[in-house]
Amino acid sequence: MFDYSVKLKNLKLKNPVIAASGTFGYGEELNDFFPVENLGALSTKGLSLKPRLGNPMPRIIETPSGMINAIGLQNVGVEAFLEKKLPLLEKRQVTVIANIFGNTLEEYIEIAKILESSSVAAIELNISCPNVKAGGMEFGNDPKMAAVVTEEVRKVFSRHLMVKLSPNVTSIVEIAKKVEAAGADSLSLINTVTAMVINTQSKKPMIANGVGGLSGPAIRPIAVRMVAQTYQAVKIPIVGIGGITELNDILEFMIAGAAAIQIGTSNFTKPKIAQELIDQLQNHLKTEGLSSPQELVGTLEGF
């Protein structure tokens, strides 16, 4: 009997395909294209304690096989999310992962406390956010700080805690180990790669924020490498993210060690992509005679 579901410790997904944070809104828009409850899970646009305006324009620029964004984490805030956005997702029985970020440790804790008494299945902790109390250094760039945020959120949130790792670090493996020790249930990687494009006429950056985050197929080999290395170093499940556009990309991540994957930028270029990949992956696994996606995870050889 084939079983498509995936267990990330205490989080059960009907399939291993998750919509990545910031690339699927709050699930309202792409419902026109396929029933969003077909997703393994939906990771929400990053939520903060208070609503955020976001960055000035221009916010995005295309790059070879990728794009850079500096949206500035524009979002409705956690309260408005619970009141106005979550009910639709509950009604459709979507497995919701609340992606959260804060500018201080206290903000992270506060949001997690609020979510503890909601219906969300999990928190995805975005630690690629500047810590205003530490001179703007990102939480996720410092192994100690990454561990502290994880530990503190762990204390106030009892359900699944996924921590999303930044690739903009010297050693993602070191941070992964620290975050695992601090109580994370799973790791998702990677977030976007900090990048820049310059207009050679005006000599100014092409996006208003100066730098932004690179996503799309351009970052996939970096992400696959990081998943493979992290898989060897931790025991908790890994969720692979970065430039997935077709079935073969998913297989790569799973072989490297990802128990589930997230689809980001591809949702922009093809609104039905998640549904298509859910179907294709299922067919592939069955054709290969596997009884569950898990059988493929971490089957990498010669590394």
Binding site: G22, T23, F24, G25, E29, L30, D32, F33, K45, L53, G54, M57, P58, R59, I60, I61, E62, T63, P64, S65, G66, M67, N69, I71, Q74, G216, P217, A218, T265, N267, F268, T269, K270, P271, K272
Partner: protein, 258 residues
């Protein structure tokens, strides 16, 4: 007008006609029922040299199952698009966003267009004609060869008021100067406008001074066209960012900061 469902379809290219000044008319067998002028589509240009994102284009005309797009080659995506032959296929996602309002209702219908901002007024002219309402387009361009659809508009009974920056056709100067000349004593009932941001902010100012109702179709870089990337925002009158692709691209002029 009945709203058409958004679809993402692989469409046959039924025609690809080069015009002057690097413009093309592209006919796609889209099978959409209809659209509201001002709505747009995201086209997946051929996957050349790392082009990733789809490109937004106004829907210019619907003729049975065929949608026309009027586009100008400005970069690698539109260059690749212009190389697609008749009989090949292109993914088209649309119709997207909100188009112009009160198209059939307004008695004195006036549009102001610049560049490929002329595109939505092709279908709009057809709707005005069907509703037996007059339609005047103030159409500004750099030079004569940038002016498009002139024959089509003549057939649809549109009054064309042309201005060119070099004086090669029509009024010599800016389109707002021509508007000032024609509306020295009075104000038009309403203006629909589409074109470069500079033109739109000039029309917004002009309309505000005249206390004329104005709708602007704005152009921003777009990542998705479906409202999920937040890459296409404009500021509304409350200083909040709203999405050009979802809440727009047509906005009431007073409601946005351009």
């Amino acid at each position: 007008m009945k709203a058409s469902l958004i679809q993402d379809r692989l469409c046959d290219v039924v025609y690809q006609i080069p015009l002057s000044a690097n413009y093309y008319r592209l006919g796609l067998h889209s099978q959409i029922d209809q659209f509201t002028p001002g709505q747009f589509a995201m086209l997946a240009v051929p996957q050349i040299a790392g082009v990733l994102l789809r490109r937004p284009f106004s829907l210019a005309k619907q003729d049975g199952p065929i949608t026309e797009i009027l586009y100008k080659v400005v970069g690698k995506g539109t260059q690749a698009l212009s190389q697609v032959d008749v009989g090949k296929k292109i993914w088209m996602l649309g119709p997207l966003g909100h188009g112009f309002n009160e198209i059939e209702k307004i008695n004195e219908g006036i549009a102001v267009a610049g560049g490929y901002g002329i595109a939505p007024f092709y279908e709009l002219a057809q709707i005005r004609k069907n509703a037996q309402k007059p339609f005047t387009i103030y159409y500004g361009a750099r030079t004569q060869s940038d002016l498009l659809y002139l024959e089509q508009f003549a057939e649809l009974g549109v009054t064309l008021k042309i201005s060119t920056e070099d004086g090669s056709m029509g009024f010599h100067g800016k389109i707002t100067d021509l508007l000032n000349q024609d509306f020295a004593e009075r104000a038009p009932q309403k203006i629909w406008s589409c074109g470069p941001m500079g033109l739109l902010s000039a029309i917004k100012k002009w309309s505000a001074a005249k206390q004329t109702d104005v709708e602007l179709s704005i152009e921003e870089a777009m990542g998705c066209g479906t409202g999920i990337c937040l890459g296409c925002v404009v500021k509304d009158q409350n200083g909040q960012y709203i999405r050009a692709c979802k809440e727009g691209p047509v906005f009431n002029g007073a409601s946005i900061d351009v």
